[in-house]
Symmetry: C2
Subunit: 211 residues, 2 copies
Amino acid sequence: MSVREKKKKKNKNAILQAAISLFRKNGYENTSIEQIARAAGVGKGTFYSYFQNKKDIVKGFYDDELELVHNELLGRANRDTPILEQMVTIYMAEFRQVTRNPEFGRLFMRESVFPDKQNPAGNAGLENNFFSMLFPILERAQQRGELRRDIEILHITEHFHSLFVMVVSSWYTGRLPIDGVEQAMTSLFTQLLEGLCPPPFTLTKLEKNNG
Amino acid sequence: MSVREKKKKKNKNAILQAAISLFRKNGYENTSIEQIARAAGVGKGTFYSYFQNKKDIVKGFYDDELELVHNELLGRANRDTPILEQMVTIYMAEFRQVTRNPEFGRLFMRESVFPDKQNPAGNAGLENNFFSMLFPILERAQQRGELRRDIEILHITEHFHSLFVMVVSSWYTGRLPIDGVEQAMTSLFTQLLEGLCPPPFTLTKLEKNNG
DNA sequence: TATAAATTTCGACTGCGGTCATTTTTTTTA
DNA sequence: TAAAAAAAATGACCGCAGTCGAAATTTATA
């Protein structure tokens, strides 16, 4: 590795660490780029050759952090437990990670759900990683017969993800207290799986009606 | 109405109109508060006695705009058409309105899904109005037997709304082209209604298996 | 109507995010 | 190794969002 590459890696990391530390101590809004640069031992302009803008730091933070969580989940997962349970486990881990620092989390969710124009493929990588983690799990569930096979897996992930976003949003707006999150998520996921329509006549009902 | 009240109303409206006009012409980022204030014939500081900050203008804009759309929808609605059709109609209207000006729309969606801390009850009023418009429609559908009665209506609205947010997000990130929006929404809503699980044994299937 | 109190308007000012021409450092070439 | 080229670092600078105390305007009081 050339001198340049080593320096770049070191600098990027120093900036990221300085930023996170300062954000933790003083909050995002009360930390200036200049402070971050000083703490990282570089000039202000240098910050912008490693990160596009201030928000970009948040993405940089979660890029690393969430990948760890995802890998840990992949390691611990038992793919033959019911899909509901697996999805709740995965998304609760995601929820805890994202909301650990509420200020970062809000910025991160905002960017990942409604990204800036100039940030076209910004979160795509992260999201794709996440979705590609879910793919084999959902595929397996389809094979077991727990999920319909006539819906593309991508769409199934969209369903779960949209409810995840809703839960995070509910927590941020205060509609949902922290100790109600897991139950709410379980209940929403269950309803998604079962559907909002009343079930058609089942065997039991038929027998009842006929008997 | 006192002189003060008249002035306030006039000023607030002048500022809002000036802002919208300038945003339309030059975009949100390229319009400064000072420009807005000048165009409205007031000083810069005065802006801040009518709106908390720059983003607040966007909310002010949609507050009016969306209420019109909602009222129009309420007037035209036939509450006995299938719930799928009604929800698609309503949310497509919402989609068109929100994304008419993409820049405003993104800011608005961001604020309404992940609001700022200092904006606690900000969007609550708007969202509540929207939800309360949906309530009677969904209640009616429950009575007709189109929707399960064991799920609270609030939760049903959350399901639909979360898919709406997903569709808007998909459009913003470019995953979903504009002419695929209605079909995607219809398909997601259908899947939500039917559920992601395979249906239990129905009469036809039973007969097949037994025969 | 004159004066006091309350409310609103105002723009100079502050601090920060982001840019850019210049300087410094590293790599390539001869 | 010396000179030229390429890449990266830097901080003065710009424009703007948001603040604040002073000035202007409206309302209340006597």
